[in-house]
């Protein structure tokens, strides 16, 4: 509510404050420099990259197409596989974690069940557990079950999202009135239908936020797949590029062509996430405010 009135007031009389905008301009440049560098340098071939000259500007020869072709054909097209793997892990992990978190958050917020307060306290405590402390024992458990070096080793642990549960709990508590749920029950709707048709639409901003945060967390994950996977055909793009970087650094001269692949590979790998964030930004920003305020 307050948000809307402010936007309207702002539209009537935009607040300019020129010195603040200049300061903002400098900060924006700082945040964009690495992107600029990557965009410029992925247009170059290896000699252009290492031949000196201005590293923040294009050379005469701009060859995105050739470089892209090289990126997607190198080593039997392994890069495309990494991107597809990342997509699989992000979609499966993101959707799975979101479904679980939305159900659990709603359950914690709207039902008074046995051991509710205790269970919720345990979930909050889990926020403090370093995620990486779980990787080593999970790896051993999975290797006993023969699950290491499979896609399950990456997807299953990423279903765990205690922060998503917390966010959904706060949001469901405030955005879904008990009276409305009771009214639906009086009208004869079952619990599941009440949840799906009444509560879920009201929780949509938080659902989108949790979905986006879980998908990004899976896409960005590095430690877990690094530990779990040994077959490079299962790697997500983060681990794959890390592998290339290790190879390129290890052999200083032989790695030169690999460097341009890493640069372009970094650029290509960030495009899906940037699109996801920008196209969904109206939704996730509304969902983020709940975590911090109430």
């Amino acid at each position: 509510m307050a948000d809307r009135t402010r936007v309207r007031a702002g539209a009537r009389r935009p607040q300019r404050y020129l010195p603040l905008q200049i300061l903002l301009g400098f900060l924006v440049i700082y945040f964009l420099v690495p992107f600029w560098w990557v965009i410029v340098n992925s247009s170059k071939d290896a000699p252009g990259l290492f031949g000196g000259g201005n590293t923040l500007w294009f050379t005469d020869q701009i060859d995105y197409v050739g470089n892209l072709r090289q990126l997607f054909t190198y080593d039997g097209g392994i890069y495309l596989r990494w991107i597809l793997n990342s997509t699989l892990y992000a979609v499966a992990g993101g959707i799975g974690a979101t479904v679980l978190a939305v159900m659990a958050g709603y359950g914690f917020a709207k039902y008074r069940f046995a051991a509710r307060r205790f269970s919720f306290a345990v979930v909050l405590g889990a926020l403090m557990v370093p995620a990486t402390a779980l990787v080593i024992p999970t790896f051993i458990m999975f290797s006993r079950l023969g699950l290491t070096n499979t896609v399950w080793a990456v997807i299953l642990p990423s279903l765990l999202n205690p922060f998503g549960v917390y966010l959904m709990h706060v949001y469901a508590r405030d955005a879904v009135p008990d009276e409305l749920l009771d009214a639906a029950r009086v009208d004869g709707a079952g619990e599941v239908r009440t949840f799906l048709q009444i509560a879920l639409p009201l929780m949509r901003p938080a659902v989108v936020t949790v979905l986006l945060l879980s998908a990004v967390a899976s896409w960005n994950n590095y430690f877990l797949p690094l530990a779990m996977l040994s077959d490079n055909r299962l790697f997500p793009v983060t681990v794959g590029l890390g592998l290339w970087q290790g190879i390129a650094s290890a052999n200083n001269s032989g790695g030169t062509s690999l460097w341009s692949l890493i640069i372009l590979g970094s650029l290509v790998s960030v495009i899906p996430l940037v699109i996801a964030f920008f196209s969904l930004q109206r939704h996730w920003r509304g969902g983020l405010s709940v975590g911090g305020l109430r």
């Binding site: 945040f31 069940f113 926020l127 370093p130 779980l134 430690f223 996801a276």
Partner: protein, 313 residues
């Protein structure tokens, strides 16, 4: 007569209690039905691994005699191990500098974006947030390029002034090199959370303050910042947890900064090396657990000191 009504009343009471009991049972059941699937995952991928790690950390694998129960020997070893101690000391030092820096920048940015409502401000908000959408690994790769002597711009820029470029991958400056990567990556995310919190503040409060003669600066420091204190504390906790587990950035920059970043640079890297390079899962688990203990103590202490300000836990 009276006996009959009494009987009837008692029976009715009994029946309502029975119905209420049913309602309760139903509510318990439905509650657990909704929480259940998450609970299964929670037990399988959090409780079980943690318990198992604790168990593993109490054993030692010896060349002769196989694996034996040693109770807390691994922990005694960890807390006297210079590799673990120097790593832990590094992440503590790094947290003390990087967290106030990140959150300070995020706060300043959020306050500016809350006050300035131009198209450029809206554009800036997205651009500053952009690094968060980048995997930390890719962020580290990008900055690794920018730092590098071979194809980074630093050599050129400093060359213009006839100076030698600072080597952010050298042992003297690696602290600042990593500081920059982390700040770049996370400040925008924290900024968005703080900005969202600021947007939720009732604007009539500013009106009232302005009537009382408060300037922009006073409104920011006396009204806005105190009102978003819960959000500030929330992101402080998250950044504390994240920074103490430092792994991705140094692990990636290690390739470029050969000799500067060792395998024991942070406790997490050390645990990874012990477990996956040396197959010493017992000691690796103990290091992870010791690190988890440090995180828990730091976060708990922080939450204790800020208990009046927070409302989220």
């Amino acid at each position: 007569m009276t006996l009959l009504t009494e009987k009837r009343a008692r029976r009715r009471q009994h029946e309502t209690r029975k119905i209420r009991g049913k309602v309760h049972l139903r509510e318990h059941l439905m509650g657990w039905l909704f929480v259940g699937p998450f609970a299964v995952v929670f037990v399988a991928f959090l409780i079980a691994p943690l318990t198992y790690a604790l168990y593993l950390s109490l054993f030692q694998k010896k060349l002769i005699g196989g694996t034996s129960f040693v109770l807390f020997d691994n922990y005694v070893k960890a807390f006297t191990d210079p590799s673990f101690l120097s790593g832990a000391w590094f992440v503590l030092r790094f947290s003390l500098v990087s967290i106030p820096l990140q959150i300070g920048i995020a706060l300043v940015l959020a306050l500016i974006l809350d006050a300035v409502t131009t198209l450029f401000a809206r554009f800036s908000r997205l651009m500053i947030f952009l690094p968060y959408a980048i995997p930390t690994v890719i962020g580290a790769v990008m900055w690794g390029f920018l730092y590098s002597k071979g194809f980074g711009p630093l050599t050129d820029i400093f060359g213009l002034f006839g100076a030698t470029a600072p080597d952010f991958l050298g042992s003297d400056l690696i602290f600042y090199g990593l500081l920059n990567v982390v700040t770049w990556q996370w400040a925008g995310y924290y900024m968005i959370i703080l900005y969202a919190a600021l947007q939720g503040v009732d604007p009539t409060l500013y009106e009232a303050a302005r009537m009382d003669g408060a300037g922009r600066w006073q409104i920011a420091t006396r009204i806005k910042i105190p009102l978003i204190a819960p959000a500030l504390i929330l992101i402080l906790v998250f950044s504390l947890i994240g920074t103490l587990q430092f792994f991705n950035e140094p692990q990636i920059l290690r390739y470029l900064a050969a000799g500067t970043i060792g395998t024991d640079f942070t406790p997490n890297m050390y645990a990874y090396q012990q477990a996956f390079s040396l197959a010493n899962f017992n000691y690796g688990s103990a290091i992870s657990f010791a690190l988890g203990g440090i995180v828990f103590i730091c976060v708990y202490a922080f939450l204790f000191f800020t208990r009046k300000r927070r409302s989220f836990l």
